[in-house]
């Protein structure tokens, strides 16, 4: 077996205890927070087409425009496909763009999503995570955003309205960096984030301007003074080279993300560690891993377990693409077992796990002392993931860690009626 790869990621100066500087305190939802980020990023072109829960963002953006607080080209398209195509083209001519959708709306735009990444256009989109039909459902599942995970899209999951705002600003900076030029989607759990309000520090324009430079497509900008053709037809003699370029951009994105968090932490006094959030991991013997808003019941449950003397920790994956392989290997290197909670499914996949568990299993495979991974499916279709559910999950992971009956090569459905 190969020796484990040592963690070589640059450490970010996390100014954890410092108070947020500047801006104003607002009671707003996650969707409003994203709308404010779009305003602060001074986005040029926005397209909209309603689908719940994403539509809350378009409502708040249009309200900001109507109130005279924000000026942009705001186009209501006739479908998600057109919605994403319009901003794709706008991005090619040098406009900073914003778009978004949910569930099957996101998938209806799939062709446009694929070409946006293929063309290396730094669109920033918000996905209000929603279950895919059928059955028609409004509640959160992560399969919508995850559908683009292999195409070059960078994917971030956020847990709070504040993080939604901050991550949107970081997303523009990373996506529009010349070393990257890849689109980025910020996933916000439907209802739990898009529709619930929290106190958010909305930074002042000066601070954002100091962090986020203007979008400059430079010599790749479609413009009459810069005669270029983009999006050619190519045969097998060219496609591999083009894919290799996208692969390299996705690799370079790692360092750009780290730089962005470094700067964000320094300038805004918040932002945290890029890629992952570690909760009570210092002495953890077992760890839970998940994405999005289920962090809240997980943290409560972890504290309850800690009160019982059980050394449980939590790692929240903040960026799914690029996948934080190094960070996760490092964070989970000391634990005996890992429980992965997927708010998504990958029917028929290895061990019938969710998407996160499958990627994590593959990321930890080169480790010499890799922990066992127990996979859990929970919270589908917007179902609550309760603290009791998480305690149940944790007990199963503890059982697996101590060689009990729980099979660390199986996937358990939590909260499903028998």
């Amino acid at each position: 077996m190969n020796p484990p790869k040592t963690a070589t990621a640059k450490k970010v100066n996390v100014a954890a205890a410092r108070a947020p500087r500047g801006g104003s305190e607002e009671l707003i939802s996650g969707s409003e927070a994203v709308a404010h980020a779009v305003r602060l990023a001074d986005v040029d072109v926005i397209t909209a087409y309603p689908i719940r829960p994403y539509d809350t963002v378009m409502q708040y953006v249009s309200q900001l425009i109507a109130d005279g607080e924000f000026d942009c080209e705001y186009i209501v398209a006739e479908s998600e496909h057109s919605q994403f195509e319009i901003v794709k083209h706008a991005s090619a001519v040098g406009a900073r763009v914003f778009c978004g959708s949910s569930g099957v709306g996101w998938l209806y735009a799939f062709e446009a999503l694929a070409v946006t990444a293929g063309l290396r256009l730094p669109m920033v989109a918000m996905v209000g995570n929603r279950a895919l039909d059928d059955p028609g459902a409004f509640g959160v599942e992560h399969n919508d955003a995850l559908a683009v995970r292999d195409l070059g899209w960078m994917l971030a999951w956020v847990a709070t309205a504040q993080e939604a705002l901050d991550t949107a600003l970081i997303a523009y900076r990373v996506a529009e960096d010349k070393r990257v030029f890849l689109p980025c989607a910020i996933s916000c759990d439907g209802a739990f984030l898009t529709h619930s309000q929290a106190i958010v520090n909305v930074p002042g324009q000066d601070m954002v301007d100091g962090f986020l430079p203007p979008y400059d497509r430079a010599e790749k900008q479609l413009h009459p003074d810069n005669p270029i053709t983009i999006a050619p037809q190519a045969n097998e003699d060219w496609v591999m080279e083009i894919r290799r370029q996208s692969d390299m951009a996705a690799r370079r994105a790692r360092d750009v993300i780290i730089e962005a968090y470094d700067d964000f932490n320094a300038q805004f006094g918040r932002g945290g560690e890029p890629f992952i959030e570690r909760y009570m991991m210092e002495d953890a013997e077992v760890a839970l891993v998940g994405m999005g808003t289920l962090a809240m019941p997980v943290k409560v449950a972890v504290r309850k377990m800690r009160e019982q003397g059980k050394k449980v920790g939590f790692v929240r994956v903040r960026w799914f693409r690029p996948f934080p392989t190094i960070e996760l290997q490092e964070a989970l290197s000391g634990v005996q077992a890992v429980g992965v909670i997927d708010r998504d499914y990958s029917f028929g996949s290895s061990f019938f796990s969710g998407v996160l568990a499958n990627d994590l299993r593959s990321a930890l495979y080169p480790m010499v002392n890799r922990p066992g991974i127990v996979s859990f499916i929970a919270g589908l279709g917007g179902r609550e993931v309760s603290t009791d559910n998480v305690i149940d999950i944790t007990n199963k992971v503890l059982d697996a860690a101590s060689g009990g009956d729980i099979d660390d090569q199986d996937t358990y459905w939590i909260g499903v009626r028998e």
């Binding site: 290396r120 030029f181 270029i228 080279e241 083009i242």
Partner: protein, 376 residues
């Protein structure tokens, strides 16, 4: 052991079905001999574009293992026979997915046979075909190129005549008897047999032929290619030695497309009114503007589509002429400026060059008219 492969180079749209028929015929004939055969088109070609050079292959083998050896490469590159379904392909071909001009005999093995339907002489064709550096045979079936539409084949027996000739030049691939056994129609079987009897084959020496070095280029690596699928426009104007004024746009030096041409426009500058319509309508922007305001079709860029002839308002000012009448891509305008009288003679001579060709169908019913007008 009698394994081998046949390459059929044909013109997109016009000869796609012809090429398919030939390759299928080879496979069916091989089957009659208890052999395995496979026929396929070169996937990177773009046979749905008028006149663009494209390829079909037929591979014949005695065993599955032999067949796998043939098929374990993208295209057979050491063919027993190359059939050029149109003699204008002898000038070299630049397919959609090729990088430079390929000699028509490039994928022919040493001692193999290049088989062409043509009314031209052996010497005429050898003069066009690039030198191979090794000996091969040139076989001619007397006849004109068969042109039809995308999904149709004008049943003028070209397919069976080439199959009959193939049995003569490469009997180890398929015999005449097995070819004849695939043909139901007695008249067509007779055509195949006649072609078998009449095909003329000559040896071509290693250094015989056109000494032009075909243009080519190296494909860049992924780090050299511009990211973001960007292709830069080629700005500016070409400097033409000895020419002051006018406008010759810079063109793609690595994809010229002129091997798509089976006819070329010849321009009567004496009757040209400089109306610009050819220049405006040419889909490939191939007209250069001369210092005195004429429009000179650049033969490095012209695909021979015939649009200029169709839109020219002056009677017989632009005439499409069989590409076989020309040996170079030189400027017609320069020829005219040099000696207007001799140009006039040159023009008349070229326009009378047979046979007339068609590059696509311009009105409904044209195909039926052509069939009706052909001598039976």
């Amino acid at each position: 052991m009698s394994t081998g492969s046949v390459e059929v180079v044909y013109r997109g749209i016009f000869q796609k079905t012809l090429a398919k028929n030939i390759c299928r015929g080879i496979v069916f004939a091989a089957k009659n001999e208890g052999k395995i055969g496979i026929a396929f088109g070169r996937y990177s070609d773009s046979p749905e574009r008028n006149g663009i050079p494209a390829k079909q292959f037929a591979v014949v083998a005695d065993t599955e293992e032999e067949m796998e050896e043939h098929l374990s490469r993208y295209e057979p590159d050491n063919n027993d026979v190359t059939i050029a379904a149109d003699d204008t392909l002898c000038k070299g071909v630049e397919c959609w997915a090729w990088y430079g001009l390929q000699p028509i005999n490039k994928l022919l093995k040493e001692g193999g046979t290049l088989l062409i339907p043509s009314t031209r002489s052996v010497n005429h064709l050898i003069g066009e075909i690039h030198r191979k550096g090794m000996p091969y045979n040139l076989a001619i079936v007397k006849g004109t190129a068969s042109f039809s539409g995308l999904w149709v084949y004008k049943d003028d027996h070209t397919d069976v005549r080439l199959l009959g000739a193939l049995a003569k030049v490469a009997p180890h691939i398929v015999s005449l008897d097995s070819i004849l056994a695939t043909i139901d129609d007695r008249l067509k079987a007779t055509s195949a047999k006649k072609a078998y009897d009449l095909v003329e084959s000559v040896s071509v020496g290693a250094n015989q032929g056109n000494d032009e070095v075909p243009f080519e280029f190296e494909m860049p690596g992924w780090t050299e290619m511009e990211e973001g699928l960007v292709i830069r426009g080629i700005a500016g104007q070409q400097e033409v030695p000895g020419r002051d004024g006018g406008y010759v746009p810079t063109r793609n030096p690595t994809f010229k497309k002129f091997s798509t041409r089976t006819m070329r426009p010849v321009v009567n500058f004496d009757t040209c009114t400089q109306c610009k319509i050819c220049w405006l309508q040419c889909p490939d922007s191939c007209f250069d503007i001369t210092p005195d305001g004429f429009y000179d079709a650049n033969m490095e860029a012209c695909c021979g589509c015939g649009v200029c002839e169709a839109v020219c308002p002056v009677s017989q000012c632009i005439t499409m002429v069989n590409e076989e009448a020309f040996t170079d891509n030189d400027s017609q305008w320069e020829l005219w400026i040099e000696d207007k009288e001799s140009y006039s003679g040159w023009l008349s001579e070229k326009i009378s060059e047979p046979p007339a060709r068609s590059h696509g169908f311009h009105h409904v019913g044209q195909y039926a008219e052509e069939i009706a007008n052909e001598p039976s």
